[in-house]
Every structure is written in structure tokens, then in C-alpha cells.
Symmetry: C2
Subunit: 248 residues, 2 copies
DNA sequence: ATGATTTGTCTATTGATATAGACAACTATA
DNA sequence: TATAGTTGTCTATATCAATAGACAAATCAT
């Protein structure tokens, strides 16, 4: 935020310390609180946000726990380096290539897989009959050893039988699809929303309760427009931002 | 969500009733709870989420207040029609044309305007000197009388002197820019994140405390690539989803 | 060394959140 | 008209969240 005055909501169902932790994270993201520099002292923050010093301390404690801040008695509280990953989304969205330059290592870990009947939403997206078998993959994207995304992906079971093994081996959707003769694919549609992380996301993404996730629901298609993949991905809002590539 | 088991987090800084309200909203969005149909009874929901019936009642009360649900004693609790607006984002993102077909009336209301020196972030985005004067517009997007977005927009004050009057008159960015000889413009970049709504957003977007907003930070440019507008927009995540247009 | 500044810890109190149980009020249907 | 199923209201209790004040412990500058 840039000088947009905004205060804190009471009786909201979201505790004050959580709201203030959010505000501090915003402050870091927007540059109000510089990295590696000291935060204003607790008393100042308490006055700025109109709360008790102990409430500010709770917020700081949560962020210390999260690895965003480091508190040193007598010196101050410092912002650790915490540049958010910028995840590009466009026609050629790929997990690995998208994070090139920002991380040295990245891969997709397969958490679990199963076969199930397609519900209406999935059947429509993949252009198959409702109730037809689909393979569901539960995956986690990791970069430099840290989780950056959590996705649930569906494939037509008939066409992509055994893709779960390919995923487990290669750690890449792109590489797995190659085994089925698909050398290139495009993102057909992306719908974006946000919500609180649920317990599963919290565990998989190593988040603190109350965290927010960005949610994308996307359909990938072959070059001639045939749908091949339906996916819902969750990104931790405090660690990842989505950058929409204008062209491409 | 499609059959993704997930539970509720305690001691998270987000109260249980707020988390459950979120989950019910998700359920409606994903089709788990059909529109105009009855929700499962309170006792069932309480058991499903592992909380007390009174906690579920608090969540329902909040959603009734919000206009999402209607409770009828003796009969049940019903889901009101609540299709989320789908806001398209692409190279030619326009507020009014983007919502065509989904709403009958829409315009942008100018809440306030001011002139201020550009900070580093804005100066870089607009390609002007740091400290140069910029015009800041605080606006609210409305469709069929309901608020759907809240934006803060900056223009180079030198080039667009008086644009606040044009905005107040026309209720449209596109129309206002025409007065300055700009008949077409493109979206150069969009960065996407999410956070809890602050007090200002809550009031302007008519949200309940604890609500989540999708945040886009965008730069618009002329056809030859000259930056003209820098904007941060907030969309209520529970009422709006962002649809990324693949091409165009 | 001394004092000013800052984070850390402790006690106490208040209000919001969550659980628990009981029963009233209302609706639909057998 | 019973009866089962549902939401609405009430009381009571325990725990968490937030405020308040005091002081200890560590750091830094003078």
C-alpha cells in the first residue's frame, strides 16, 4: 500500500494480531519496511495501528515463527530477506521454466494419485462424459526446497493411463505429457480467486493458520484445442505473486 | 473444492465461525451447495466441520447478514442466487466492456482525488522522475448498483491535468483518456496477489470484516508503449473471480 | 559507567469466542 | 393432529484475544 490510510477491524472474526501481521507483510511487500532493516519499535507500531503493544508482539511472534522477521532483544526487530516469487501465467505457463532465474532448483513432487469418476465440472472442462474415469494427481511444487504451490490435477484416464508413474519419475508435467506424444500444449483458460488456506494447504505449503492462498483453475489444451488437463492450483499469497504475461 | 477433505484450524487468529463461513462460500462457488437449495441442517454441518452447532450458527448469521443465505425457522437455510462476477483480464482490460453481458449497468464512481509526489514505485512504473507530481484517483467500480472493485490510480499530473474532472463526469477511464488524445491503450503488466481487506476496502466494497480481496497492480500503456496509468485494484474474492483471457 | 532505547517476561482484568445443554417456535408430512 | 425435523433463544462455563502496567534484560551511544 502506498500511503493508503487504513485501520484495523475489531469483532471481525479475524484477530487483531493476525490483521497486523498481514499489514506488516504488506508493508514489506510494498517497500514500506525495507528488507534487512529494523522495523519501527513495538511501541510505535502499537500506536500506529491503534492497539496495545502486546497485540503487536503477538503479530511479530507469528511472523518470527514464519521466518519473516527476526527479533533481537535490545536491538530491534529485523526484516529478513523475503522477496516473493513471481509466478508467470500466460499461454505457455510451465512450472519449471516460469521460475527460471528466481530459483536454482525446482520440481513437482507427487503426493498421491487416484482414479475417480469425473463430476460435471471436470467432465465439461476435459470434454469427456460425466462419470468417465479420470486420474487425479495431488502435487506440490517446490523451489530450492521450499513449497511454492499445491495443485490438484485431472487427466482423462483412458488417454493418459499411467501418467502418475511418469509424474513420479520425472517431476514434471511437461515431461510426462511428452510420453503420451504431446510435445507442446497451451493454457486455454485461467480463472483466479483467493481464500483462506485449508488444513491440507497449510500442511503441504508449510503455512501458518490463517494464511491466504491464491487459487487458479486452469485448462490446458493441445495446439489444436483439445483439452488434456484440468487443474486447480493453490499458491501461498504471502510468498508468491502471479504475474500475467501480456503477450505470449 | 472437489472432494478435497480439509478441516478447520484452531488457535489460528481466524475465528472458527469465520473459517466455516469461508468454507460455505467455497461450497456454494464449487457447486457443493446448490443455489436456491437448502443447506444441510446446522447439526450436520457442525458434525462435518467438527465444531459446535452454535459456531455454525455464527457463520450462517454472518452470511445471512451478507445476503448470501436466508434462514427460515422450521424449514431450513437456503442459498440465495450468488453467481460470482467473472472479471476478464488481458491486453485490453476495460472495466465496462469486461462485464458486458453479466450486468446491465456499470460505471466507475470517483470517491476522491489528490495530487502528490510520486514515490519510487510509481515513478518507475510511469517512467517519470521520483517526486514529480502525480494525480491520485480513488475509485469504486459498480455494477447494477453493487460495488465490485475498489481502485487507486495514478496519472502523470503534467500530462493529465484535470483528469479527475473527466472521471467524475464520464465515470469511465477510457472516456477520460480520450479527452487527452488517447483513443486506445493496452495493459502492459499485471501482478496479482491477495490479502485481507482493510477498513477502507470493507467500507467501500460493502464487505464483512475478515473478507479477502484479490489485488491487481497494473500498468497501462499507449500503443507505442508509453506508460500512462498505474493502478492498484482490489476485488472482493467472494463476489468476483478474475478470468485471464488467453489471447487478446 | 551511565542513561536511553528496545525487546522479553510477568501478573491482572476484560471482552470475544467456542462449547454444552435444554427447550421454544415453526414447518412439513405421515 | 401427532410427530419428526429444523431454526431460534436462553443460560452457563471455559478458553482465547486484547488491554494495562510494571519491570527485567540486552544493546547502543554518550
Amino acid at each position: 500500500m502506498i500511503g493508503i490510510a487504513s485501520s484495523i477491524e475489531r469483532r471481525s472474526g479475524v484477530s487483531l494480531w493476525r490483521q497486523i501481521a498481514d499489514r506488516i507483510l504488506q508493508g514489506i511487500a510494498s517497500g514500506d519496511f525495507a528488507e534487512n532493516a529494523a522495523l519501527p519499535p513495538e511501541v510505535v507500531l502499537a500506536e500506529r495501528y491503534g492497539v496495545n503493544r502486546h497485540t503487536v508482539r503477538s503479530a511479530i511472534a507469528a511472523l518470527v515463527q514464519e521466518g519473516v522477521l527476526r527479533a533481537e532483544q535490545g536491538r530491534g526487530t529485523f526484516v529478513l530477506s523475503r522477496k516473493r516469487l513471481s509466478y508467470p501465467i500466460g499461454a505457455r505457463t510451465r512450472f519449471s521454466t516460469g521460475l527460471q532465474g528466481q530459483t536454482t532448483e525446482r520440481h513437482i513432487a507427487l503426493l498421491s494419485s487416484s482414479t475417480e469418476p469425473a463430476n460435471r465440472r471436470i467432465a465439461e472442462a476435459l470434454g469427456i462424459a460425466r462419470g468417465a474415469a479420470v486420474i487425479r494427481l495431488e502435487t506440490r511444487g517446490e523451489a530450492d526446497g521450499h513449497p511454492v504451490s499445491r495443485a490438484t490435477t485431472w487427466f482423462d484416464a483412458k488417454r493418459f493411463a499411467g501418467i502418475e508413474d511418469a509424474m513420479a519419475e520425472t517431476g514434471s508435467i511437461t515431461a510426462s505429457l511428452k510420453r503420451f506424444g504431446i510435445n507442446d500444449y497451451l493454457r486455454h483458460s485461467t480463472v483466479l480467486s483467493a481464500r483462506h488456506a485449508d488444513a491440507d494447504d497449510l500442511a503441504a505449503l508449510d503455512l501458518q493458520p490463517g494464511a491466504i492462498v491464491l487459487v487458479t483453475v486452469a485448462v490446458n489444451v493441445t495446439l489444436d484445442g483439445q483439452p488434456i488437463q484440468f487443474a486447480e492450483s493453490r499458491f501461498p499469497a504471502e510468498r508468491v505473486e502471479l504475474r500475467l504475461s501480456a503477450s505470449d
